[in-house]
């Protein structure tokens, strides 16, 4: 299964987080919200200006900016 950047995922595409590259405040925030390796996510949609992106994970919806999504690598489902 290919590993891609969260920013490159398409709407309704799903996958499993493989790596989080962020550190510091952003890294902390991302992890606090459950974005850790092994978590299954699905791209739920994008805002009218294509940024931020909305994700579905663990039964709730999370949104983050594209430049924050850059730090997240996902193993996408086929």
């Amino acid at each position: 299964m290919p590993c891609i950047n969260l920013r490159q995922m398409k709407e309704n595409q799903s996958g499993t987080i493989s790596r989080i590259k962020a550190n510091g405040q952003l890294g902390r925030r991302i992890r606090d919200m459950g974005l850790v390796p092994g978590t299954k996510i699905k791209v739920h949609g994008r805002a009218p200006l294509y940024d931020p992106v909305a994700l579905r994970l663990m039964g709730f919806t999370l949104t983050l900016r594209n430049n924050e999504a850059d730090y997240i690598e996902v193993e996408v489902d086929e």
């Binding site: 799903s14 989080i20 550190n23 405040q25 952003l26 890294g27 902390r28 925030r29 991302i30 992890r31 606090d32 919200m33 459950g34 850790v36 390796p37 092994g38 978590t39 699905k42 739920h44 949609g45 805002a47 009218p48 200006l49 294509y50 940024d51 931020p52 909305a54 579905r56 663990m58 039964g59 709730f60 919806t61 999370l62 949104t63 983050l64 900016r65 924050e68």
Partner: protein
């Protein structure tokens, strides 16, 4: 039998139903304050039943217990310093996994907790079956299913809590393994901490070590103060581990710790705690709504309609209570006018106190309606969607998607008010973005600036009224956004706060919650702002009253009046005294009255010029000439600090027209159009100045309160005035150079 008394803290993620549960438990018996030194709200209430009486404290909603956000630091400090007997951790059953992340951190701290498995009905509707007993056994803490909206389970929850407190057991800190490397470092540090009794009077030893590995700034700083040598040693251990992890796993200690916490939660939930009866990947009602509401084309349209609706709701429906209050204070003023002897006391009571208190109370209905509207948007979950849709635009200017609400309410659609606008920034959670929003919303064209614009546009741009008003709105928006950008790269610089935000499921707000929310905030405004505003109002009154005209001058005006009166036939004098209404007077009497009023107006003009404000205005003329303003405009602008519409009435006094009603300024408009020294260019310069200069003092007080420091209030007075003046001078000088 003695009642069981204890302090219980309510903690949980944002949107987990914590406030609803708090309201259900305490009813109206609650009060709101602030945590010492910060602007985070602290709600307290009492739950008394059977044989116990609990003091409940609603901690700010947090996802974690790190020290990054203000809310988290506040929550943690409260737990450490106040040592509540118990924490009730409210978790949203439908996203149990993420919600337990906070619970695990309480347990690591060794704080006794009781879990309220909230919104269990929503989870069940989604097809989730949660075995509360099993969860309780595995975690070793009581777990009570609740539905905060209808209060279901709250008695059982309090009963379990009471039992736990009665039993009096302090939980041992939860020990999770965080992987070999981290565990080794932890063990090494914990041994040292215990040997040296490093911070152990306040925190558990292993927890301190954990926080060191998580790079927790607050603990590191406390550590440095307590024992610099040991702190340095720990710092070295952390660095060594970080380097090692970077080399081997390309990871950080804090990342591994978080991963293992989630790993622990997953392992607990996998042991038959949660089972799914339906396919969890299907769309829930909330998702279906989102498909429409945040859709690329329909979404912004709906948002526009919602914004317009909120605006309409706030400013239209509050009109009636505002009128009642105006009527009440008008009546009070009238009573004072009729029953008090002429003189300073009367003037102080009417112009200083009644107008001042009236000014504060006049905003109260606006604030009430605004908070009610925002509470609906916030509690329903729509506000988060607005931030989501608009973030891209606002981020460009160093702001946040949630800033839009404050701008709109302050007058982004002309006619708002900066006072509720400033208070609306409370929905913003990121500090720098919030401060930048706070400082720029007063540039919007509030309802009080409109009469000033109307006056000047009618006098000098009569043929292009609509176009001018649109341009004024556009200038305000552009100015506010650019200044926000400027502030974010200078005084409030720093990377943007991570946006990472939950889009909570849409929920029907509870009416009780809305009312409590609205009332609390309105009352806070009245209580806090009221006293200060009254004081400033009296101060401004004094500035425009003292020093008074010398007696010789007052006598001169009296002689003039006496001369006019003695020249008139006695019949007419009696007629004026007898009849109040102008249109019932005979032509001769009207003429006499007009002559007398002219003398009064001339006296008011002299008195104003003689007062401290007048002298200040005259002294400033040397500078203000650069922007085309004479001393009259200067005084009017000083008066505008009380409330922007005062600019109009003060200009009236300064031009000897007596008091001018801001709503009916036509005579003043004509006077300005024909007075030497005024031109369309001066008017434009004044319009620009009015948009940008110091916010009215009610706004300044609110800015200071919301920003948590008078420094920012002072900053907004100085910075805005300097900015406004520079812009006005540029307009006037460039315009003059081109011969306008």
């Amino acid at each position: 039998m003695n009642k069981l008394q204890a302090t219980i803290a309510l903690a949980g993620n944002p949107n987990c139903g914590k406030t609803t549960l708090f309201n259900a438990l305490t009813g109206a018996r609650q009060h709101v304050g602030n945590y010492p030194g910060v602007t985070v709200e602290k709600k307290q209430g009492v739950y008394a039943r059977n044989s116990y009486r609990f003091n409940l404290v609603d901690l700010p909603g947090t996802y974690s217990l790190t020290a990054y956000s203000l809310e988290e630091v506040v929550a943690r400090d409260f737990l450490v310093n106040e040592k509540p007997e118990l924490v009730i951790n409210i978790v949203d059953a439908s996203s149990l996994e993420r919600n337990l992340y906070l619970a695990v951190q309480f347990m690591e701290m060794g704080i006794p907790i009781c879990i309220a498995l909230n919104m269990i009905d929503v989870a069940e509707k989604r097809g989730m079956r949660i075995d509360a007993e099993k969860l309780s056994t595995l975690l070793g803490v009581p777990v009570v299913p609740t539905i905060a909206r209808n209060g279901k389970g709250k008695e059982e929850l309090m009963e379990s809590s009471a039992n736990l407190i009665r039993a009096g057991v302090r939980n041992n800190p939860l020990l999770i393994t965080y992987g070999n490397d981290v565990d080794q470092a932890l063990a090494q540090m914990t041994a040292k901490i215990e040997a040296h009794h490093f911070l152990t009077d306040v925190y558990p030893a292993r927890w301190v070590a954990l926080k060191y590995l998580e790079n927790d700034e607050q603990i590191q700083e406390i550590g440095r103060k307590a024992d610099p040598a040991l702190a340095a040693e720990f710092q070295a251990i952390v660095e060594q581990l970080t380097d090692h992890l970077q080399d081997t796993l390309e990871s950080y200690p804090e990342a591994l710790i978080a991963d293992h916490r989630y790993g622990y939660i997953k392992s607990v939930l996998k042991q038959g705690v949660v089972s799914f009866e339906k396919d969890m990947s299907r769309l829930f009602v909330s998702d279906k709504i989102d498909k429409v509401v945040t859709q690329r084309f329909i979404g912004p349209l709906i948002m526009g309609a919602v914004i317009w609706g909120l605006y309409h709701f706030t400013f239209t429906y509050s009109e009636l209570p505002v009128q009642w209050l105006e009527g009440l204070f008008g009546w009070l003023g009238g009573q004072a006018e009729a029953h008090l002897a002429d003189g300073l006391i009367k003037s102080l009571i009417i112009s200083g106190i009644i107008d001042g208190v009236g000014g504060v109370m006049g905003f109260a209905p606006l604030i009430m309606f605004m908070f009610f509207g925002i509470a609906i948007l916030e509690d329903s979950g729509y506000l988060a969607r607005m931030a989501y849709m608009l973030d891209r635009i606002f981020r460009f200017f160093g702001l946040h998607g949630s800033s839009v609400m404050a701008f709109i309410i302050s007058g982004g659609i002309a006619g708002g008010c900066a006072v509720p606008g400033v208070m609306a920034t409370r929905t913003l959670k990121s500090r720098r973005e919030r401060l930048a929003t706070l400082l720029t919303v007063p540039f919007m064209n509030c309802g009080a600036k409109l009469p000033v614009f109307a006056l000047l546009v009618a006098a000098f741009f009569a043929r292009r009224q609509a176009l001018m008003m649109v341009m004024i709105t556009a200038i305000a928006w552009l100015g506010a956004l650019l200044v926000a950008k400027l502030l974010r790269i200078t005084v409030i610089k720093g990377a943007s706060t991570p946006f990472v935000m939950e889009l909570p499921p849409y929920r029907m707000p509870t009416f009780k919650g809305l009312l409590i929310h609205t009332w609390e905030r309105t009352w806070q405004y009245i209580k806090k702002a009221g006293t200060i505003i009254l004081a400033i109002s009296v101060l401004l009154w004094a500035m425009m009253t003292f020093p008074q005209l010398p007696e010789s001058t007052v006598k001169k005006f009296e002689q003039q009046r006496a001369a006019v009166q003695s020249a008139a036939p006695t019949g007419i004098l009696h007629e004026i005294e007898r009849i109040d209404r102008k249109d019932e007077l005979s032509a001769e009497a009207q003429a006499l009255r007009a002559r007398l009023l002219t003398i009064d107006a001339k006296e008011a003009e002299s008195a104003l010029r003689h007062s401290a404000a007048g002298r200040l205005g005259s002294a400033l003329e040397i500078v203000s000439r650069l922007a085309g303003f004479d001393w009259r405009t200067n005084i009017a602008l000083i008066g505008g600090f009380a409330a922007k519409e005062v600019v109009v009435s003060t200009l009236g006094t300064a031009y000897s027209l007596g008091e001018v009603d801001p709503e009916q300024s036509l005579p003043l408009s004509q006077k300005l159009a024909t007075t030497a020294g005024w031109s369309p260019l001066v008017a434009l310069s004044l319009i620009i100045f009015t948009i940008f200069y110091a916010p009215c003092f009610v706004s300044v007080v609110c800015i200071s309160k919301e920003a948590g420091s008078w420094k920012w209030g002072g900053f907004s007075i100085l910075f805005n005035t300097i900015l406004a003046f520079s812009l006005a001078v540029s307009v006037y000088q460039i315009g003059s150079a081109f011969g306008f």
